[in-house]
Symmetry: C2
Subunit: 454 residues, 2 copies
């Protein structure tokens, strides 16, 4: 019954499809894909190379091709589209909403953008797309579609329905009907349901809802996502600086934004510096990972230089060296935990309402509780196993200090990064681990030096 159930990418089907491609068995390709959701065809095409995909494109209806292009992973689409002529691209754009069309063009050179738009037959859509290309890709203006349903506040319900019949041709999904004044200023909204239920002679002015949440063209995608989530919106109107309705953003685009932001955060947290996936080339994967590894390595080398100051101490009391991994690992773990909690609060600014001082005091309390518990445990174990009181004292005091310091660093670093407009998730990554390693070593050997009177 459901399509999800119907179309399974079985190994048998893949082999059969591959065979059809080799034999150019167009009728099999056509029949097996007829009525299949474009998102499923997209998944299928990921299994084949660009040339084979282009062959499938030549068989499928242009409308389906356009949907597949829209579904394709951005990197893959970019390289795939290089083989298409401006005429072909223009034909696809006719079938897409203006925002999806603009998304495809964003990746191209200005010259190619112009050539594609020149070949478009639907002049309204062409002008919509040109309009959208003026905005950055990651602000509300770049996310919005120009296609929307609007009604003049002075119209009657009958007039609305009449106009909607015309507008509806170009709008694939209707969420709200936006109500504007004669100059196009956004006043409020109503629903298609309401229009269906109202009497045909009633004026829109008599029943529309003026309680409306809107965003402005310059707002960042993060802000738009936060607003749509907060108010549970499935679409939001976009207005310009003068309050004129210029577009709308739908929730499916925002879901993509949310996923991208989460992905970006994970990559920052794990020290991957570019947007890579497991199927990228070995060199791309290496390159994305090397910068942070090198930073970590430099940190490690500085640590080695630092430890060499205590050369004689280590030769005298090698047991001091045994606990280096314990100290650095704990510092790293505490730092990452602390920064993670701050990053979370920064992402949901509503929930936490304390001042900076309250925040730091609380972090201090949590650090003291955890630090005391860990220090006592380590003290006990070292006394039991190594039966060496100065060593147990040194390690546990150093551990306690490291927990305190790493908590402080882990809390302050993301806040400072955020102040400077840098993604605070960066602070949960190898950055904080490396810094805390060095800090931990400094504390550890300073404590040792003092306690042992070295």
């Amino acid at each position: 019954m459901s399509e999800v159930m119907e179309f399974e990418l079985s190994k048998e089907f893949l082999e059969r499809f591959n065979q059809a491609l080799e034999e150019k068995d167009n009728s099999f390709i056509e029949q097996s894909l007829a009525g299949v959701n474009s998102a499923d065809i997209t998944s299928l095409l990921y299994e084949f190379d660009a040339e084979q995909c282009k062959y499938v494109f030549s068989i499928l209806p242009t409308e389906v091709d356009a949907q597949i292009l829209n579904d394709l992973d951005q990197d893959i689409r970019e390289s795939f589209l290089q083989d298409f002529t401006p005429e072909e691209l223009a034909a696809y754009l006719e079938y897409l909403d203006s925002d999806d069309g603009a998304d495809i063009l964003y990746q191209m050179s200005l010259k190619k953008q112009e050539e594609v738009i020149k070949h478009m037959e639907n002049e309204e859509k062409a002008s919509y797309i040109l309009d959208l290309l003026r905005y950055e890709e990651d602000v509300a203006g770049g996310l919005m579609a120009k296609e929307l349903m609007k009604a003049d506040v002075n119209w009657s319900v009958d007039r609305c329905i009449e106009e909607i019949r015309i507008q509806a041709e170009s709008v694939t999904k209707i969420f709200s009907v936006y109500v504007v004044d004669s100059e196009g200023k956004l006043l409020g909204w109503t629903s298609l349901k309401r229009l269906v239920l109202e009497d045909g002679k009633t004026k829109v002015a008599d029943f529309y809802d003026d309680n409306i949440v809107s965003v402005e063209t310059y707002m960042s995608e993060e802000e738009v996502a936060q607003i749509m989530q907060k108010y549970d919106l499935e679409s939001v109107p976009v207005i310009n600086a003068r309050g004129k309705l210029v577009g709308r953003i739908t929730i499916d685009d925002i879901v993509d934004v949310i996923m991208e932001l989460a992905e970006e955060e994970r990559q920052l947290m794990t020290g991957i510096s570019a947007d890579v996936e497991e199927d990228d080339t070995v060199w791309m994967l290496s390159k994305a990972r090397l910068p942070w590894l090198i930073i970590g390595m430099v940190g490690g080398l500085i640590g080695a230089q630092f430890l060499s100051i205590f050369d004689a101490d280590i030769a005298l009391i090698p047991a001091l060296a045994f606990f280096i991994p314990l100290i650095t690992a704990t510092g790293g773990n505490v730092g990452i935990q602390s920064s993670s909690i701050v990053v979370q609060s920064l992402a949901n600014p509503n929930v936490f309402a304390g001042t900076m001082l309250q925040r730091l005091l609380k972090v201090l309390f949590v650090a003291v509780v955890n630090g005391v518990i860990l220090a006592l445990m380590v003290f006990g174990v070292v006394m039991l196993v190594n039966q060496n009181q100065p060593l147990a004292m040194t390690v546990s005091i150093a551990l306690f200090s490291v927990v305190l310091l790493a908590s402080f660093m882990g809390t302050v670093t993301p806040l400072v990064l955020d102040k400077f407009g840098i993604n605070p998730a960066l602070a949960s990554g190898p950055f904080i681990t490396t810094a805390n390693d060095l800090l931990g070593l400094a504390v550890y050997f300073s404590v040792a030096h003092m306690l042992y009177n070295l």
Copy 2:
């Protein structure tokens, strides 16, 4: 113009509102909140305590109270609702969709659930909620709302509009009109737009779309989220095992699911074992962080025991100890990067299409590239700074081996966890760091032992 702009939580307003609460100045409270979006009132209420919030609730209309309850953070709501009587709760549920009502009841005891439902006046809604409570909270059945618009395939457009007038009373947002047969089996869908545009005498059977994606009641929220994202759906119908339409899931609920999953992943990755936020108590925050810190500490203590085997070596060549942080940090960083890339592929199963062997081979290549580069750099630096060839050889060979091993561990661990149904993001957390610390130390001192002929 836009509400977002209009209602700002300024410090002045907060103080004025606080004063109004103390003076029980009901008219100020009423006027300042009239027409304000419930999500904004919710943000405001986070600044006040439970008793003050309850006072505001007593002044606001029941409908607004119900929306605020729905917006509230789940933990806060749970404790807040303990002061309400079943009668009061029943009154709120009348104003909420069945899924939101069930969400509120999920947190209560069976006995309290029954008492609340007993007091509900709207019997249809009460039976809807009872129905939903049978499902687990995190499967499609627990996410869906019972309110939806459906049309019998044999109806005419006029009949549909007539029925929709009746159904529409209880459905706040219409996305699709689902088409069913006389037994309630889901056949397809149509849109309100289509119904408005079609001639009144046409039968639904003549124009409805049978290409429909649906989910089944038992599907997990992750699966539902993936399907809605893949097909860009703003609502999805839910069917039972017999194909009967039993509810629908809307995208706003799925956005919440996506955010929760991302949050859960971050907490796993950073070693926080419970769902805590910065405004939880010190003890809750400590408790959520301690388990992983203790695991890390135990790892560190095992590391110390392991290093004590090399007691004599370290006393002889203290410089060996200097590079312990470099080795452990690099192992940790490489492990986290590798697991992060696997976790990402597991979340987007479509993109990567290789076998296990291809996957591991690729990981091996990337590790060799990065390992060689890092090892050469470290060799150069140690030769320059320490001018000690055996040491430079030892450190760089160990580093290379650690990069290889940590890549392998970081790739295999999340895959194994996933196989056993454990969230693979766990592998990016302190778990892998601790394991790699020990592994790195073992490799380092084994290499040293061999090269130095100790």
